[in-house]
């Protein structure tokens, strides 16, 4: 009796396994790849052959659809692929110690261009680049202190984007209080923050800018609840423009401002990195604009350079700016738009300096 039950249980397991295994007859070893089996329009080919142009990406901790830099970089790759017919694939990092081995997956398969995302992957990228001189590497957010011929560091003057956003905030605030809810204190975030503060002061010298970084280390960019709480606290103290810059943590802040009384009429929020009107719909009530860095554009440009053999080692400065105002386009006073437009222009032609330095 017991034996029969056991046998039944065991054979059930085996059966399930077999069925599952056999059922996958359509499973194609090469069908996988990037973007959940939709990687690239080109048919799968051998990346080592000269005809096939392959672009790989290793994400920072976090997934490729993170509404943040991983996603932007991937969108850049996809755009470039559409243009060049490249074959694309990505690996999502789940352990910071795997950067090197994830890179190796691509170098082993002789990928032509490998995009690595995030400041912390800089060293692993340089090491892999030195070992694979014929492969081109694009390091998003990786400033190149020393030039490696086959590594292009895609960097952005975040302080300029922050400055524009801060300038807008300075013009908008009625309470003379603006707040920033930030993720971890790392260079890109810090540049945004300092630029924002400088911009706000430039627009309105009496404005008061408060800065709150997420306290803990591990989940600094993925704690929306804390972000919301911090935003709430700042709102309660009279802040009427909140800059949320810190991944999901910042998004949490945006969402909280959107719920506040007067959201969109007297209280506003500003997003970061990408046009968050598109990625954080819950922030629509308050989201005036986002301080953006055009990672997609920069990545895509660098890939095309690499394909044409024109990519140079060292830093490649990408574009920054402000995202469209979307629904607020109609609501913002025209003079505010004009002034901000002038600042954006001045920053890009160098006539305005943010004065931000780190360290």
């Amino acid at each position: 009796m017991k034996l029969a039950r056991t046998t039944a249980a065991l054979s059930g397991v085996v059966l399930a396994a077999t069925l599952a295994a056999c059922g996958g007859s359509t499973g194609n070893p090469n069908a996988g790849g990037g973007g959940g089996a939709t990687g690239g329009a080109a048919p799968a080919g051998d990346c080592s052959s000269a005809e096939v142009f392959c672009v790989g990406m290793v994400t920072d901790m976090g997934s490729v659809d993170d509404k943040s830099f991983n996603q932007s970089a991937w969108e850049g790759i996809e755009a470039a692929a559409k243009q060049s017919g490249a074959q694309t694939k990505y690996i999502q990092t789940t352990d910071t110690k795997d950067y090197a081995s994830n890179l190796k997956q691509f170098t082993d398969k002789k990928y032509d261009v490998i995009v690595t995302v995030g400041y912390v992957m800089a060293e692993a990228t340089t090491t892999a680049a030195t070992a694979n001189p014929q492969t081109k590497f694009i390091g998003v957010d990786q400033a190149q202190a020393k030039v490696t011929d086959n590594v292009a560091g895609l960097v952005f003057p975040e302080d300029q984007a922050g400055y524009s956003a801060g300038y807008l905030a300075g013009l908008m605030t009625k309470t003379n209080k603006v707040a920033q809810v930030l993720g971890m204190q790392i260079p890109p975030v810090e540049k945004y923050a300092k630029g924002f503060e400088a911009g706000a002061k430039a627009a309105n010298s009496t404005s008061n800018v408060s800065i709150v970084y997420h306290p803990a280390g591990d989940n600094a960019f993925s704690d929306p609840v804390w972000g919301a709480n911090a935003a709430k606290q700042q709102l309660a103290q009279g802040a009427d423009v909140v800059f949320g810059a810190g991944g999901k943590t910042g998004n949490g802040a945006l969402g909280e401002v959107a719920k506040a009384k007067g959201a969109g009429t007297s209280t506003y929020c500003i997003g970061v990195d990408t046009d968050q009107w598109l990625t954080v719909p819950e922030a629509h009530p308050c989201l005036v604009t986002s301080a953006t860095k055009l990672i997609s554009k920069g990545t895509s440009e660098l890939i095309m350079q690499a394909k044409d053999g024109k990519m140079k080692g060292g830093d490649f400065t990408g574009d920054v700016g402000l995202a469209p105002f979307h629904d607020f386009d109609a609501k913002l006073p025209p003079d505010v738009k004009t002034k901000v437009g002038a600042v954006v222009k001045g920053l890009s032609d160098g006539s305005i300096k943010t004065g931000v330095t780190l360290g």
Partner: protein, 330 residues
């Protein structure tokens, strides 16, 4: 008046807190209400989660899986709301998930007498694994959680806007504290629950169905964990992330102990933790003194350790917490 006598210390502390709050309010109204607001938003999930622990341990079951229960519920609440387009459905699904995970803990520990701590840890790991795998980006809630103003109460200065104006789950937390407080100490259910947690065999021989009461309480406590989870993904924020609960389920255990397994005291403890966290943010924002924010954030944890070390023996857990009940084993 028996109530006053029985809770003399608690009431004195509460009164002192209220007085202190209003003194602070008189000195700097915005700062005080913003800090208190932060503290309460921070405390809501902790209060609910601590009540989960209180209910479990008062009936003799240690629940270390609150974190997993919250995580699973937050996940289901968010995606149910996002996919169905109904906030109500999301909230119900979240609480339902909590109930289900509560039932899991109840059945494994009470029915099958699995080690309670291991069952809780397994619950956490399973919830983390499943939510990580099934999580997909790109969904948003159909709308924001409506904010409710409780008539009259919400017009109390300082406390009204903080405690009596807010989303349904924040208000639910207050109701839950009061209901469980009253229930535990004044009703038949409460008397039996406490008996079951202190001396299950005594309750058994008095005709109380220990197993059924434990199953019921641990399962229903899951409902509160579900509310805590749904609060996080639907009310406190409008999103879900992997590892979203960020240790709040564990912090709730500390709060439960800090609050001496008492709903009201647990709420005070949670508010205290919230105030600490709010103070940490405030110190950064106002740039008064340059204390590394890490240290300010550590304060509640260190304080808990100190309280436990000093008050050991005075803070007494329910005697049967952690012990499986075997009938006739008296």
């Amino acid at each position: 008046m028996g109530f006053v006598r029985a809770n003399r210390t608690g009431l004195a502390v509460a009164l002192a807190v209220v007085v202190a709050a209003y003194v602070a309010y008189a000195v700097d109204g915005t700062l005080t209400s913003s800090l208190l607001g932060f503290a309460w938003s921070f405390a809501v999930p902790l209060v609910l989660a601590a009540l989960v622990g209180v209910l479990g341990e008062r009936s003799g079951v240690i629940n270390i899986g609150i974190e997993g229960q919250m995580l699973g519920s937050a996940f289901v609440a968010f995606f149910a709301a996002a996919l169905s387009g109904s906030m109500l459905l999301g909230a119900l699904a979240g609480m339902g998930t909590g109930l289900l995970l509560g039932a899991f803990l109840a059945w494994t520990t009470v029915k099958w007498r699995m080690d309670q701590i291991i069952a809780g840890v397994v619950l956490n790991i399973v919830a983390t694994g499943l939510t990580s795998f099934f999580y997909v980006q790109g969904f948003t809630l159909p709308q924001v959680m409506p904010s409710i103003e409780v008539p009259l109460l919400s017009s109390i200065p300082l406390f009204g806007p903080v405690f009596f104006t807010g989303g349904p789950f924040s208000l639910f937390a207050i109701v839950a504290v009061l209901v469980i407080w009253f229930g535990l100490f004044h009703t038949r259910w409460g008397l039996r629950t406490r008996a079951v947690g202190e001396h299950p065999h005594a309750a058994d021989t008095a005709g109380v169905d220990v197993v059924r009461l434990r199953l019921l309480n641990v399962t229903l406590a899951g409902l509160l964990a579900g509310a805590a989870g749904a609060y996080l993904s639907m009310e406190a924020s409008s999103t879900f992330e992997r590892g979203f609960t960020a240790g709040r389920g564990f912090l709730a255990l500390a709060i439960m102990i800090f609050g001496a397994w008492h709903p009201g005291k647990a709420m005070l403890a949670a508010l205290f933790f919230g105030l600490m966290s709010g103070a940490a943010a405030q110190l950064q924002a106002s740039r008064v003194v340059d204390i590394p924010e890490q240290f300010v954030n550590l304060l509640p944890y260190v304080l808990t350790l100190v309280v436990l070390a000093v008050a050991a023996g005075r803070v007494r857990p329910p005697a049967a917490a952690g012990e499986p009940f075997v009938k006739g084993d008296a």
